[in-house]
Amino acid sequence: MKILVPIKRVADPDNANKVKVSGDGTQVTSEGLEWKMNPFDEWSLEAALRLTEDGAKKTRTGEVVLVTIGPKDAAQTVRTGLSMGAERGILVEANDQELDSNMVAQILKAIVDKEKPDLVVMGKQTVDGDSNVAGTVLAELLGWPLANYAMSLATDDDGKTLTVKRELDTGVSTIKVTGPAVITTSDRILKPESVKNGVTPADFKYPEAEGGRYASLKGIMAAKKKPIDEVTAASLGATPQKTLSYLKFELPAARSGQTTFVESVEELVQKLKSDAKVL
């Protein structure tokens, strides 16, 4: 099985340097930021790796291709994914500021047309833009079935059909999709038994984790030698059009950090109404 996993780098919230807005409010500035892989993408990569390996024997049985759209140094994020186990990477050179979800989906479509993967497994959203759009638009452009918010994946005997449990506010919906398809994931995909591929023994459990797997030192060394192709939208024959324009950015108001102590429940309710204005 060949899976395409689109990944994006986002500002690392643990770093002392935070995202800033330019003086005129027209753009978000990224100077001095440390980057990490968008967590939703990391979970998708984990799911894709589980689909294409024997988890017990730790051997690869399929191919995971990473693609990122961004500046040249975003290759580092691809390298991180390669050290976790993906086979190769593609960097589509672009300026973050000049992209919107629609353009991302159009560029991804061009990549899919070229790579012809069996699945695209991607994060449901990024933690910076929070749009939750690219995966859905991509499925539409490709005319492929879409399984959003997957919390578990299991391949059927034919290897092409997947049983997908989707996590929704109202409960869990179970659907079957036949590949090629687009899948977006939720964090429950990290559960020890959430991915079944017919190769990894059915009773195998992945370790309980809050993120994707750790790259081993061997993996990190091996990643140095794995290929990352650098391409442009034009070289792929894509002419993505921007449909969204940003009007203004502003930082959220700083929290006051004040603590108020109350004597009774009545007073609490009163304060929530009058001071906090949340009731």
Partner: protein, 409 residues
Amino acid sequence: MIEWSEQHKQIRSMVRRFVETEIVPQIDELEHGDTPPYEVLRKMLKTFGIGEMAKGKFLADLERTKKGEVREKKEREGFHAASADAMAMQLIPIIELCRHSPGMVTALGVSIGLTAGAIQRKGTLAQQEEFVPPLLTLEKVGAWAITEPGSGSDAFGSMKASARRDGDDYILNGSKTFITNGPYADTIVFICRLEGAPGPDGELPIVSFILDRGTPGLEQSKPLRKMGMHSSPTGQLFLDDVRVPKSRLLGESEEGGARKSAKDTFGSERTGVAAMSLGIIERCLELCKEYSKTRVQFGKAIGEFQLIQLKLAKMEVARMNVQNLVFRQIELAGYGKHMDLAEASAAKLYCAQSAMEVCLEAVQLFGGNGYMAEYRVEQLCRDAKVLQIYGGTDEIQISQIARSMLRDV
């Protein structure tokens, strides 16, 4: 080397994530309780494939030696990035662990670096094959025992522990103290004097034996209570007529090469201290910067007071210097070289003292909170002190540096 490479940073962020999710949440049990460190260390070696990688390389080298291929040890021409990276891969986990738990590094370093290292250097092929691989993965815990109640800095001069021939066997007696991993060790390298004829230097030869936990006559004490490094159990060993066959004599030779081997072991112990100090200093500095910005007194963040700024600036200078020494170690490895004993002593002396100073200033900068366990700097401060004592005290390093300088005059 002037800065960490992208690959180094990647290793760092992976290990940091592991430390923060696996160790920090149980730091109090590890640092103030009775939870031994081995389980979580094993998990770390496994997660990053460190143990398996070391074992694989060791077995491949051993196979080559068996076939009679001589391992080329000569200095290579030019710089080899792979060798430098291999050194960086050893040092980065040390730095990262030391940000929270220097004791873990002590326990791990003694087991893998000192114990497995000594057997690898001096053991027969059969001894290496039997004892080294499980130590590299921490499947077995190792201890390396030279210090005695009556002999520390003068480790060889006043050594009382002894071995006596008895037919084909040896009978061992003596006691050892301050032995890292002593209470839990499965494999112990025991260093002693061989009774009988003195060697060419007029002294009884120094030899080493490999002992198993549970050998009759060997007693391993409970952990000793100590100032810091609580995540590294330290204990005493008592040997009362312990009988071992010749196959347990390290190198199966009575030549007394153990003296040189023990010195090499000291050398390797010293090089780890720079990385340990860097982790401790980095963490103190990080905590201090944050506290200087958020702690308000006299209507100002304390970072605005010049006396606080002086502390921060000095900590930063220490961080830069210690980091440069770590970089030098990595760069040297790339050229197939390592620090000689005098340089390693100088580096150990400087790094240990810097770590201690930074920690004391960090406690001071935090005021009363600095004295409280919750703010963590007091733990690092207690831990850092031992860097000036073990692996040769500051005083011993100084005399070694001076001796080597005066010899050259």
